[in-house]
Symmetry: C3
Subunit: 164 residues, 3 copies
């Protein structure tokens, strides 16, 4: 039936591929760079509320298999996020996971709301290339650590339901 | 036939799910906030032309079932738009509809051009989560009201063709 | 099998539709506009590194069938890119190809990393409308020309694997 294509075709509990990776974001604060910054503020917060509404950050962040910042990255996350709520910290992300290793070559493209106050939140995997050709799925975020506005770490549980 | 996958699989007139909602954008103008602003300018217009080229707005806008601004929102639209034409008002949007009610839990992710001069314009629903798990479809915009750069209202006719 | 939906369904060498187009980006530098600028800087580069990290550009660029800037455009590319690496030039794009001619009516939505140092790089076609209703696929970028930060030209090889 065209109008209900796909109904029941996927089982959320059974992705065809799954990658659990950690995203490390170290925000640049100007001057010297003691923390080896991986992201920078491109537009400052507006005066709407006091929870960074409109603050826009571009990042090129390492992705690791465990929670250790200094583990060898298995991918880079390249993209941006911005804060978008005037009464609480809430963000929106769009980015590409770039894999360039013997294990994986290719990219995974993600976008969606990071409703920070929720224990976990789901974003959409909207496409992929190379080893992840035409992938679609869900990226589940969980905040794993946060140190003021200097560093935060997200667990990203990437579940693909279309694999080719 | 792999090279023509899906040919004819969907009938544009028969979405598997449809939501017609109104998007209310109230732009912050600094100082006090008499209009209960829901969006703010993150980067000002450039000097290329005089139709706001490059002006970037982040929003957290209420979505209602009817055209009344004060109706109870059924979702939030969180994302951004910017103007991108030097001879006319034309915009580009990427955002997430966030549903958090007894009726719907989940998100719908949208991106595309808002060619404002057209009576209606189609953007892509590129993914979904929760109740809208793995959704794809079309979001048709129609300008329903505009009051200078203080307020505008769009009808968003969300038609999903992949429902799971 | 739900968990491996689509495995082997597409042959990367056999798109159901293919468009090879040239993207021309002429960056506005203020003042008079001798080069008929089609893009403008919305946020300047940050001080993280010296390869334009964070520089954000909005564009409304002509797309032509051959490499000549002055050929009649067959579409407009409307969207943005930003630089996102502190040690090399690397970018990230999201945009819509807007077709409005007797040949094609509709849009194609694209996002992904433009890892400039690679000879070619793949981004995701995440959706389409009109003649490209519900399209998905790959957009392969190749730099065809670059003149400082005044002009660059990309070949975009758009391969759709879902056509309806």
């Amino acid at each position: 039936i065209p109008s209900s294509h796909g109904h029941g075709a996927y089982d959320p509990a059974k992705p065809c591929k799954r990658l659990v990776l950690y995203f490390h974001d170290i925000l640049f604060h100007g001057g010297a760079e003691p923390f080896n910054a991986t992201s920078a503020t491109v537009a400052n917060a507006t005066k709407l509320g006091n929870t960074n509404f409109g603050k826009l950050i571009v990042f090129d962040d390492p992705m690791t298999r465990d929670a250790h910042l200094l583990s060898t990255p298995v991918a880079r996350a390249q993209g941006f996020y911005f804060y978008d709520m005037k009464s609480a910290f809430n963000a929106w992300f769009a980015y590409t996971l770039v894999f360039n290793s013997t294990e994986h070559q290719g990219t995974i493209n993600v976008m969606g709301a990071d409703t920070i106050s929720a224990p976990t939140r789901d974003l959409s995997v909207v496409g992929g290339t190379g080893d992840f050709f035409m992938a679609r799925g869900i990226a589940t975020f969980r905040t794993d650590a946060a140190l003021g506005d200097y560093y935060f770490r997200l667990e990203m549980d990437i579940k693909l339901y279309e694999c080719y």
